[in-house]
Symmetry: C2
Subunit: 172 residues, 2 copies
């Protein structure tokens, strides 16, 4: 399968929309509308007693707040996925981690978007001394008991958080 | 939080993009770019020996093929999520199921899209007599051994498939 043409039909702040035409090996051509996204990271940060989650407004889905893993977009030019995860854990939760492990990479919705999310596990946690959360982000830190991981899975409703928590549940 | 304005800035075949402005309870306003999507269903269809997956091209993510749960968009006016899941299981796999159970609803990527996916478990499977797959869909049916559920989880790279298989792993 090869891409034989691409046209940007909308360019916004977060997402752009392209219409690409592909040719399959048998010669048939297919036109696809693709939302282009830089990708993101999500972080399963925990010690033996608790896992660090965030509660924040998500205007796109019209619920007042969602409970989620700390996460962020890969929107800094040249920054690696791991460095992005370290920065987001520091900014959102005020923590640094000694040990980092990549748990999974996945596409959020490969039928129409190219967004790929990388989930990291972060352990060996230590508090950063000067953490001042950005009030504009409206993020509430939630320390969820690790013994009630199933409760966190039931309370989360977005793909990266469910995949991260379920992998911890299966592998942990 | 209330929506105080909405403007459609792009209208495509699958996705539309809106720019909405929200007002938080403290009076602050936030502009959000939102990809609007009708939503989708995914189906964890299995018997005691195997789970039914599909392998198909996903042009948006530039990999030759992805291994996934059977799934489909809620693109038929007035059709319920469950009826959509029954139709997709029949069309993609040629099966009907006696027992249906909703496992989870989740947002694929709530930072910028409103797409919600409902995952169903389908059991009590029976083959439909006249199944003729649509060649235009380029879908290969994969019968994966249930004893190797961890292998399927490792081989899948999209959110609905991972969440469905991980929930089966945890609850099954």
């Amino acid at each position: 399968m090869e891409r034989i043409s691409t046209e940007t039909v909308y360019e916004g702040k977060i997402a752009a929309v392209r219409v690409d035409v592909f040719r399959h090996p048998d010669g048939e051509e297919a036109e696809r509308e693709i939302v282009a996204h830089p990708g993101a990271v999500g972080i399963v940060a925990h010690d033996d007693e608790k896992i660090f989650l965030v509660r924040q407004p998500r205007e796109a889905v019209a619920e007042p707040d969602l409970l989620e893993l700390p996460a962020g977009k890969l929107d800094v030019e040249g920054e690696s996925r791991l460095d992005c995860a370290k920065r987001e854990l520091a900014e959102e939760i005020g923590l640094e981690a000694r040990d980092w492990r990549e748990l999974k990479r996945f596409y959020t919705t490969p039928g129409f978007a190219d967004e790929e999310v990388t989930i990291f596990e972060a352990t060996g946690l230590a508090e950063l001394p000067d953490h001042r959360p950005d009030p504009a982000e409206r993020i509430e830190i939630v320390r969820w008991p690790l013994a009630d991981l199933d409760g966190a899975i039931a309370a989360c409703h977005d793909s990266k958080s469910l995949i991260g928590l379920l992998l911890l549940r299966v592998e942990g």
